[in-house]
């Protein structure tokens, strides 16, 4: 079986096809179209039929995400002045054994072997016909090279097979736009925290500008690597297991706290706590100086979270003070963490604002966010020509021109 | 003519103080301190280490502040010994008494009594009378100029570890850079010395 044998499965004849549905090029800016209810030329006697006709003209995008160990496929429909409709949002995760991270090569193999199944399943769940899809969105970057490439190839293949335009999407912008859409946060400061990214972002002049970031490793990477040291399971995710263990931790140990203005650093923390954990696992007697009780792995998880998250909340607060915002949106896989959400909420409340966060369906890498951000760009006339449909490991959030916002 | 100065930041607390020159009973006072005679519970300060009125006030404030903060507390027997200790830039208590307190041979001294004036037994006139009768010497006004007339600048610099004062200029001079001569008046040197001393005192508590 060759690497590209999946192509066969993706011919239009294999998917549910509605020959009556018209493919409408939808290039109107979102929220500026006239909703059908107010359309004076609507002469239909059957409002359901006309609604169906109207809705069938609304743009639909399919999004493919695979920048790390999650492969996601999502299908979205944008209807003016209404929340975006999530027609399908499915995911399959490559889980590595405890003590191991996911290697690019194995992750890419995982994505290649699952992408066809996921695309077919998403189409089936959504009830959308291939002909109704307006564009194919894929993650252009940033991310791990091999997994990105396998998903970009899948997207390109779909575009050629189905004769649809391609839209390359910045992964970070995908998270931000999906977070805004789901939470309704209008113009928040965004904390984007995942395995590969730690950024504090605010919107200005059609760019998502990075006000602060981790200067070395990302917070999620710090958590993942710590989990490996302690042999914490990667199923369903190392961060989730750390969070559960942290709930049983009591003693706070002194961990390096490194914040420089709106930037922060996690490599010192990782080095320290790795050394501490290694000592502990090799039998060294570590005790809490006040109570004399032994330090447990749960205490380490607790201390790591309390310290690292305090750093994140602090740099976010600085950015909020800087741009004069009281809303904060947390996106990215680490954004699922309820303790982080709680701490951020306390800070935001003290500033007279509130925190917006989403659950694991949207926080963790997914296809729907790529479909959503891609469709926003597509409706401003943006497409990625096939010969430019590359992917890139490095792609800064502020490189994207955000034409769909004022 | 002793003075009464309310201690800003510590409501109710007042300083009662008097500055003396030509003192003849320093040895007796010193002996009473060593004997821990409660009638002699004062802060007796050697004015040769003082550069302004603010300096002993800051020391008294530190002492009262630490007295009133249950998380900190005093490190010496009482608020008066603590005031002498608070003049010091180091944590060595014995050393601080020796450098900033009086010695048997002192000929000038600043006496301070710190009291909570909200106490029912408090009587300002009694306190001031006791203060005046305590010391055999000439009372002089408690002002920065009269303190500066008594200051031993070399001793101040040594006690407060101020060898780094104007280090930038010294550095530039070593590299053959011209000195900005005459750009600083004698008054400015005093002002710089004053804040350098206050800074060293303020940083003492910091571990």
């Amino acid at each position: 079986m060759t690497r590209f044998s999946f192509i066969r499965d993706l011919y239009p004849s294999h998917s549910r096809h509605n020959p009556t549905a018209q493919h409408m090029p939808a290039v109107f800016p979102r929220h500026q179209q006239t909703p059908f209810q107010q359309n004076p030329t609507n002469e239909s006697s059957n409002s359901l039929t006309s609604y169906n006709q109207y809705i069938s003209t609304m743009p639909i995008a399919i999004g493919l995400e695979g920048s790390a160990n999650k492969l996601g496929v999502g299908i979205i429909r944008h209807t003016p002045s209404q929340p975006a409709e999530i027609l399908a949002n499915i995911r399959h995760t490559f889980v590595s054994p405890p003590g191991e991270g996911f290697l690019p090569k194995d992750t890419a193999i995982h994505h290649r072997s699952w992408v066809v199944k996921l695309v077919k399943q998403a189409l089936r769940e959504s009830g959308v016909a291939v002909a109704d899809v307006d564009c194919i969105c894929y993650t252009k970057g940033p991310g791990m090279g091999a997994p990105l490439q396998s998903v970009a190839i899948a997207a390109r293949t779909l575009a050629l097979l189905w004769d649809k335009p391609l839209v390359g999407v910045n992964h970070c912008v995908g998270h931000i736009e999906m977070g805004r859409e789901i939470t309704g946060a209008d113009n928040p400061v965004v904390l984007y925290v995942s395995g590969g990214n730690t950024q504090v972002i605010a919107y200005a002049d059609q760019r998502y500008r990075i006000f602060g970031e981790a200067l070395d490793i990302a917070i999620g990477n710090c958590l993942d690597r710590f989990a490996r040291t302690l042999n914490i399971s990667n199923d369903p995710a190392p961060g989730y297991n750390i969070e559960q263990m942290a709930k049983r931790g009591k003693h706070l140990i002194d961990i390096p706290y490194t914040v420089k203005g709106m930037d922060c650093s996690f490599s010192g923390i990782l080095g320290f706590i790795d050394a501490y954990a290694t000592d502990m696992l090799s039998g060294a007697d570590k005790r809490d100086p006040e109570t004399g009780e032994p330090i447990t792995p749960e205490d380490l998880c607790f201390s790591l979270q309390e310290t690292a998250f305090a750093m994140l909340v602090e740099i976010t607060e600085r950015a909020m003070a800087h741009v004069g915002s009281s809303q904060v949106l947390i996106v990215g896989g680490v954004g699922c963490n309820e303790r982080l959400q709680e701490m951020m909420g306390i800070m935001a409340a003290e500033r007279g604002g509130s925190v917006y966060a989403t659950d694991e369906r949207f926080c963790i890498d997914n296809g729907i966010m790529i479909a959503h951000a891609g469709l926003l760009a597509f409706q401003t006339g943006f497409t990625t020509p096939i010969d430019e449909s590359t992917c890139t490991q490095r792609f800064r959030t502020d490189e994207v021109l955000v034409k769909w916002r004022d | 003519m002793p003075e009464v100065i309310p201690l800003a930041g510590a409501p109710g607390y007042k300083l009662h103080l008097a500055l003396f020159d030509s003192v003849s009973n320093a040895a007796a006072l010193h002996a009473q301190l060593l004997a821990k005679n409660p009638a002699y519970e004062y802060a007796f300060i050697d004015p040769s280490v003082l550069v302004s009125t603010l300096q002993p006030l800051a020391a008294a404030f530190r002492a009262v502040h630490d007295l009133l903060d249950p998380a900190v507390g005093l490190r010496t027997p009482n608020v008066h010994s603590e005031t002498v200790f608070s003049l010091s830039p180091s944590h060595n208590i014995t050393d601080s008494y020796r450098r900033f307190g009086i010695s048997p041979s002192s000929t000038a001294l600043l006496a301070i009594k710190i009291l909570d004036t909200t106490s029912p037994t408090y009587s300002e006139s009694d306190v001031l009378a006791a203060l005046s009768s305590l010391v055999d010497g000439t009372e002089i006004p408690f002002t920065t100029p009269s303190l500066r007339a008594l200051t031993d600048v070399a001793k101040v610099k040594k006690c407060y570890k101020l060898k780094d004062m104007y280090a930038v200029e010294a550095l530039y001079a070593r590299k053959g850079r011209r000195k900005e001569e005459g750009s600083r008046s004698g008054d400015m040197v005093w002002a710089d010395l004053e804040v350098a001393v206050l800074g060293q005192m303020a940083l003492r508590s910091l571990v």
Binding site: R396 | L54, A167
Partner: protein
Amino acid sequence: MSRRSIDGTLIKQGAEAHVYKSTFLLPTVPSLIKVRPRKAYRHATLDLRLTKHRCVSEARLLNRCRTMGVPCPAVYFVDERNGEITMEWIEGPSIRELLQRLIDGSRDKRSEGEEEGEGEGESDVLSDSRVLDLMRQIGETVGKLHDIDIIHGDLTTSNLMLRKERRTTLETNSSENTETESNDGGIELLQGNYEVVLIDFGLGQVSVSDEDKAVDLYVLERAFISTHPKASGLFHTILEAYKKNSLGSGIVLRRLQEVRLRGRKKSMIG
């Protein structure tokens, strides 16, 4: 833990600190109290540790600078458990306010004289020798700071102040300077003696690294140009004075070139 209330007027409330104007011990000694308030989101032990550490670090930097001869507020009193530093009150405008006033003032003048057809008011005031002298003093002051191996960490024109006169003793209002400011564009403030005073060392550190010093200058450059786009041409005068006066300026300015090229941009891996 209940906090002692601060006896003073709140003048600034930032993300990290609240700043009050108050007096120190005597009503005649104005002071500034910088308070780092408790952060409820942080574990109490961590909060106390950080507050203490930052308070102590800032007080040490201020004291080191001031003693060694770099103009900055003197430290009067530190209550590190409560995150409070009481320091010298610096009377005078920030360089940011001053530059803004100069630019606005010249714009008003220009519009008044528009009938005459003269349209170069702004460049007039910004090329005034007194303004150039101010820029040189800024460059010298930053140079001195770096020569004693202190990195400010947040150099902006808001964190540089202009002080006309200094008191010879703290407790008496001896200097006759108080409020001699004129509303006439502020250029008169640059007449005669003054000093440029560095404030807010909350992000400062001791470092001998040329890279750190270059980044410090880069932060100032970015802040200067974005805050005063019309006066951005003045920045090279600051750098010239830095170059002329600071001992390690050669290497630092070469590093600055690299830092500029690199920006603070860093590629992120997803």
